[in-house]
C-alpha cells in the first residue's frame, strides 16, 4: 500500500511503521552554480514536504524572481528569505528537514562563499554522509577538491558524488565516466573508500527520487534510494565504551548518579568502568531512566548511571571500559580550523572545550598549514580565518581523549577566546606528544616559601602596566630602592634589560608582544620561585597576556599596578621622543597611537599620575605590600601614610 493510502486507511499502522524510522544527517557540498539549492528544493518537493500555502508562495516568487521562466524555481525554497537578501545577512549553516517512509533526513546546507571552510566544517561535524555536487559541464574543479578535503578532515565516511545537470550534456555516459574516473583518482589521495557516483538532473528530477529513461546506461540507485538505505552504522557503536560525565545527579543523600551521553560503545549493569583521569574503578549498578531501569544502553543515548562504590567523580571526567582506555595527556597534536576574524595568537591561552571538560590551552607550535585547494603544506606562524593547520597544544591539565579518527566525541574540541567568549576555532586531536609523559616536576624540600622566608618576605610580582611614558619605570625604580633600603630582595624586569637580551629576537607585532609577555611571565615565575619580589615594568597592552602572567602565579602573588596616564599627557611628556616618531610614522604598532591599549578591569592598585606623584605612588605600593603581609617585621610609619 502506498503511503498516503496507509495514512488514510490505517493511521495506527502508519504510526507504528514510522515510530521505528531511522535518522540520516547529511551535508550537501557545492556552490549555487552546481544546482545545490535546486537539488535540496527538489528533495523537499518530491518528498511532499511543501504545503499548498508554501507552494503558492513559491509559484508566485518563481514568476517574480525565479530563473526558470514560468517553471517552478526550486532554489527559491531554500534561498528564500527576503530579509536576508535585502539586509545582506549571510545564512551560514541552515538545516532543512524532510522525511520519507524509511527515514527522516536533516540536511545541513552551507551556502556561504566567503566563510566556506568554517561553515562547511560546522555543517559536516554532525553529518553521517556528504553529497558532493559536480556540474557535469565543468567536471572536477578546485572547489570540488576543497569540499572533499574538508569532508575527509571531519571524518565523514560515506560520500555520494552527484554529477548534476546531466540534461545539459545530453545525458552522456562518456562525460559521466570521465568525471567519475577523475574524481576517484583524487579521492584515493584523501582516503575516501565509499564513493557512490550518481548521474542526476536536479532541475528535471532525473535520478533524484525517480528513475529516469534518459540514462538507461545507469543501473545504480537513485539519490533518494541510496539516502534511504545506505548503512551508516557509526563506528561509535562498535568502539569501546566512553561517556563524558556531564552532570552529577544528586536529588538526595541516598542517590548519586552520573549523567551523560554515551559517546561510543555500550554499557550494562554489572560492567566494570574506570574513571579518567583519576584511574579509579567501580561497577555499574543501575542505568536509571524515568521510564524504568535499562538492561543496556548504547552509543548516542543520554543516560544516568549509578556505581557500586562512592568514588569521587565530577563533570568533565570520562567513564570508560577498563579493557580499552582513552589516552590521558596535556601535550597534544591536533588539526585546528580557525574560525575567527582575529587570527590565532600562538602563546596566548585559549579555553578548550572537549566533551564536558574545559581546560586552558596554548598553541606551542604550528607545524604547518594546509592549502585547502591544493593540499600543499605551508610554513605558518599563525592561522587566519578559515585556515587549517597542524598544531601542537599544551594544556594546563591532562585530559582523557581518543584520536578523533576513532571517536569524534573523544577527540573533537572547540577553542574559545577568553575575553570575547566566542568560539574561535575547532579541532581534532590525533596523538599525545611524548613530552607529557617524560617531564615530571621535581618536588624539592627547599621551596619557594622557604627561600622567601630566609629573606624575611613573601615572594610576589608587582606588574606595572600602562602606556609608554606613563611613568611605570620611574615608580618601579622608586619602589625597588625603598625595598632595598629595607633589606628586601628584589629584581626589576623592564624593557631595557629584557628586550636587549632574552627577547632580542622579538619585534612589536601582536604575536611578538604576546611572546614577549609570555617569556617575561615565565622568568618572573622562576624568580618568584627563587623567593624574590619581582617588579615587572612592561606596557603589556593586552588583557589576555596580563591574565596569562597572573595565572602563572599562585593566588595573591600577582599584583597588577595600573599606571594610568592619559595618552595626551604621556605624549606631552614624551621623554624618549617615541610618540613624535610614532606620529611621524617611523614606529609601527605603537601602543596608544597605532596599536590598542586594553585598560585593566580589576587592577590591585591604580596610580593616577596626573594626581599622584611618583613618591606617593611608591608609598601606596609599599603599603599594599605591607597590608598583604609580604614584608615580615615591617610596618609603614605613620608619616609615610600616603595622601592622594
Amino acid at each position: 500500500m502506498d503511503v498516503s493510502n496507509l495514512i488514510e486507511k490505517d493511521i495506527l499502522k502508519y504510526l507504528e511503521v514510522h515510530q521505528n524510522k531511522g535518522l540520516l544527517r547529511f551535508i550537501t557540498c557545492g556552490s549555487v552554480d552546481d544546482g545545490k539549492s535546486t537539488l535540496i528544493g527538489r528533495l523537499l518537493y518530491d518528498s511532499k514536504m511543501i504545503f499548498e500555502d508554501q507552494l503558492a508562495a513559491l509559484e508566485s516568487d518563481s514568476k517574480k524572481v525565479g530563473t526558470q521562466g514560468q517553471e517552478i524555481d526550486f532554489a527559491l525554497l531554500v534561498d528564500g528569505l527576503a530579509a536576508e537578501r535585502e539586509q545582506g545577512i549571510t545564512i551560514d549553516v541552515a538545516y532543512r528537514f524532510f522525511s520519507t517512509d524509511k527515514r527522516k533526513f536533516i540536511v545541513a546546507d552551507t551556502p556561504g562563499h566567503e566563510q566556506y571552510t568554517r561553515n562547511m566544517v560546522t555543517g559536516a561535524s554532525t553529518a553521517d554522509l556528504a553529497v558532493i555536487l559536480i556540474d557535469a559541464r565543468k567536471g572536477v574543479l578546485v572547489q570540488t577538491r576543497r569540499h572533499s578535503f574538508l569532508v575527509s578532515l571531519i571524518g565523514i565516511k560515506h560520500i555520494v558524488l552527484a554529477v548534476n545537470k546531466m540534461d545539459l550534456v545530453g545525458y552522456s555516459q562518456d562525460v559521466f565516466d570521465k568525471i567519475v574516473a577523475d574524481y576517484r583518482a583524487f579521492a584515493k589521495q584523501i582516503g575516501f573508500e565509499n564513493v557512490l557516483a550518481i548521474p542526476i538532473s536536479g532541475l528535471k528530477g532525473d535520478n533524484i527520487t525517480t528513475e529516469t529513461d534518459a540514462m538507461p546506461w545507469y543501473t545504480g540507485p537513485t539519490l533518494m534510494q541510496h539516502l534511504e538505505t545506505v548503512k551508516v552504522d557509526d563506528v561509535a557503536d562498535q568502539a569501546p565504551f566512553r561517556m563524558w560525565v556531564q552532570w552529577v545527579n544528586r536529588p538526595d543523600l541516598d542517590f548519586r548518579g552520573f549523567s551523560g551521553t554515551i559517546g561510543s560503545g555500550s554499557i550494562r549493569p554489572g560492567d566494570k568502568v574506570r574513571v579518567l583521569p583519576s584511574g579509579k574503578e567501580s561497577h555499574v549498578v543501575r542505568i536509571v531512566t524515568q521510564d524504568g531501569d535499562l538492561a543496556e544502553a548504547i552509543a548516542g543515548q543520554s543516560i544516568t548511571i549509578t556505581l557500586q562504590n562512592e568514588i569521587d567523580i565530577s563533570r568533565g571526567d570520562v567513564l570508560s571500559t577498563p579493557v580499552s582506555l582513552p589516552a590521558v595527556a596535556d601535550q597534544l597534536n591536533a588539526t585546528l580550523v580557525w574560525m575567527n576574524e582575529e587570527h590565532l595568537l600562538p602563546g596566548r591561552p585559549y579555553l578548550m572545550k572537549i566533551g564536558a571538560k574545559t581546560v586552558s590551552a596554548t598553541i606551542t607550535e604550528i607545524k604547518h598549514k594546509v592549502n585547502v585547494n591544493t593540499l600543499e603544506k605551508l610554513a605558518a606562524t599563525t592561522l587566519e580565518l578559515n585556515e587549517i593547520g597542524s598544531v601542537n597544544l599544551a594544556l594546563d591539565h591532562p585530559i582523557p581523549f581518543d584520536p578523533y579518527e576513532e571517536n569524534r566525541d573523544g577527540g573533537g574540541f572547540i577553542f574559545i577566546d577568553r575575553l570575547t567568549n566566542t568560539t574561535v576555532g575547532a579541532g581534532m586531536i590525533h596523538t599525545a606528544l611524548r613530552r607529557a609523559e617524560n617531564i615530571h616536576w621535581q618536588a624539592v624540600d627547599v621551596n619557594k616559601t622557604a627561600r622567601a622566608a630566609l629573606k624575611r618576605q613573601k615572594a610576589c610580582v608587582l606588574w606595572f602596566t600602562g602606556l609608554s611614558g606613563a611613568g611605570k619605570s620611574t615608580i618601579a625604580n622608586l619602589v625597588e630602592k625603598q625595598l632595598y633600603a629595607l633589606g628586601r630582595h628584589t629584581y626589576l624586569l623592564d624593557g631595557d634589560n629584557v628586550r636587549h637580551g632574552l627577547n632580542r629576537d622579538l619585534g612589536f607585532a601582536d604575536t611578538d608582544r604576546v611572546e614577549n609577555i609570555r617569556r617575561v611571565g615565565e622568568v618572573s615565575k622562576l624568580m618568584v620561585d627563587a623567593g624574590l619580589i619581582v617588579l615587572v615594568s612592561f606596557i603589556s597592552p593586552f588583557r589576555a597576556e596580563r591574565r596569562m602572567a597572573r595565572e602563572l602565579m599562585a593566588d595573591g602573588e600577582f599584583l597588577e599596578i595600573f599606571v594610568d596616564t592619559p595618552v595626551g599627557e604621556a605624549e606631552k611628556r614624551d621623554r624618549k621622543g617615541l610618540y613624535k616618531k610614532a606620529r611621524a610614522g617611523e614606529i609601527e604598532n605603537f601602543t596608544g597611537i597605532t596599536s590598542p591599549y586594553e585598560r585593566p578591569e580589576n587592577p590591585e592598585i591604580t596610580i593616577e599620575t596626573t594626581k599622584q606623584s611618583a613618591e606617593i605612588a611608591a608609598a601606596i605600593i609599599l603599603r599594599a605590600l605591607e597590608e598583604r603581609g609580604m614584608l615580615m617585621g615591617y610596618r609603614v610609619a605613620e608619616d609615610t601614610t600616603p595622601t592622594a
Partner: protein, 300 residues
C-alpha cells in the same frame, strides 16, 4: 539493542542540551507557552534530570489573552511535574489595557510578549532561557543556533552567532548577556506529534476537535473564548466543530474545521493537510519576513 531510531536520537540530543545548560549556566529558566512544543519540552526536562526535579523554574510570559483551557493546563502541568511556576505580565501593557482588538496584533505582541519577556528575564536575572522553537517551523529559523546569544539589551545579532560543532556548545558569556536555548530545534511537527502519542504527553484539549463558538473574520475562524471578545454589528458566534493546530492568544489564533478528536486523527489530518502549521498564526502575516525582525528585537 540495535540502533537508535529517529525519536530516540532526538530525545537524547534534547536531554544532552538541557543538561549542558544546567551544568554551565548560573540561573536557567524554561519558557513555557503551554502549547504542544512546550509540553514536549517539559516532558524532556523531567526525563533529563530524573530522579532529581528539573533544577530550574518555568516562566510563562502571560498576555492575559490566552485561551482559558491553556491557563488550566499551565497550573496542572507545573504541579504534576514538580516545577516552580513563575507568571509574568508586563505592568505597562496591563495598565494601558493593551489588547489585540484595539491595538492590533503587532503592538499587542510587542508589548505583552517581546517587552514582557525582556522585563521578566531582567527581573529574575536569568542567564539562560529554554524555548520550544523548531527549525522546521519557518525559514528564518532554519539557520538558528541551538544556543542563541543575546546582548545585554536582549538583541539577537545574526552576525555574532557562534559556530556549533558536534555536540559541543559554548555557553560562556559576559555578565548581563544571556542565551536562548532551543533544545527541540531538530524536531519536526510530525516528530512532536508522534512523541506526544508514544509518550502519552498531556496537551491542551483545544488541539482536539469539539463543537466551539466561532466567528469568521478575514477568512479566519476565531473562537469566542470569553466575554472580552467584541462582536461586530450583525456578527453572531456559530457553533462549529473545530480544533487548533497551534495555540496563542485566542483573538490571534485561527481554528480549523475538523473532526479529529484523537491523537491518531490529528496526526492523520496533519499528514493529509495542505497548509503549513503557522498559517493559523496571524502574527506571521503582518509583514514580510516578520519573524526575522521580531527575533532581532528580542521575540523568541
Amino acid at each position: 539493542m540495535s540502533h537508535l531510531n529517529n525519536l530516540q536520537r532526538l530525545e537524547a540530543e534534547s536531554i544532552h542540551i538541557m543538561r549542558e545548560v544546567v551544568a554551565e549556566c548560573e540561573n536557567p529558566v524554561m519558557l513555557y507557552s503551554i502549547g504542544k512544543d512546550s509540553a514536549v519540552m517539559l516532558h524532556l526536562a523531567a526525563k533529563a534530570f530524573y530522579p532529581s526535579k528539573p533544577p530550574f523554574p518555568l516562566l510563562h510570559v502571560d498576555t492575559t489573552w490566552k485561551f482559558k483551557a491553556m491557563y488550566e493546563m499551565r497550573e496542572r502541568m507545573a504541579k504534576e511535574l514538580g516545577f516552580e511556576l513563575l507568571v509574568y505580565q508586563n505592568p505597562e501593557a496591563k495598565a494601558k489595557n493593551i489588547n489585540p482588538f484595539d491595538h492590533g496584533s503587532a503592538l499587542h505582541t510587542d508589548m505583552w510578549k517581546t517587552e514582557g519577556l525582556k522585563q521578566a528575564l531582567d527581573k529574575y536575572q536569568f542567564d539562560a532561557a529554554f524555548g520550544g522553537a523548531r527549525r522546521d517551523e519557518e525559514k528564518s529559523r532554519a539557520k538558528e543556533r541551538i544556543f542563541s546569544f543575546r546582548s545585554t539589551q536582549h538583541r539577537w545579532d545574526p552576525k555574532q552567532q557562534r559556530p556549533e560543532l558536534w555536540r559541543l556548545y559554548n555557553a560562556r558569556k559576559h555578565k548581563g548577556e544571556s542565551i536562548r536555548v532551543f533544545p527541540i530545534s531538530n524536531w519536526t511537527e510530525l516528530d512532536i506529534w508522534q512523541y506526544i502519542y508514544l509518550e502519552k504527553i498531556p496537551i491542551v484539549p483545544l488541539y482536539y476537535s469539539a463543537v466551539r463558538p466561532v466567528v469568521e473574520r478575514n477568512g479566519t475562524l476565531i473562537m469566542v473564548d470569553d466575554e472580552r471578545m467584541p462582536l461586530r454589528p450583525g456578527e453572531k458566534p456559530m457553533m462549529k466543530s473545530v480544533r487548533f493546530r497551534t495555540l496563542g492568544c485566542y483573538p490571534l489564533t485561527g481554528a480549523v474545521e475538523s473532526e479529529a478528536a484523537t491523537l491518531p486523527d490529528i496526526i492523520q489530518e496533519m499528514l493529509l493537510t495542505k497548509s503549513s502549521e503557522r498559517q493559523g498564526r496571524i502574527i506571521d502575516h503582518d509583514q514580510a519576513a516578520s519573524m526575522e525582525k521580531k527575533k532581532q528585537e528580542g521575540y523568541f
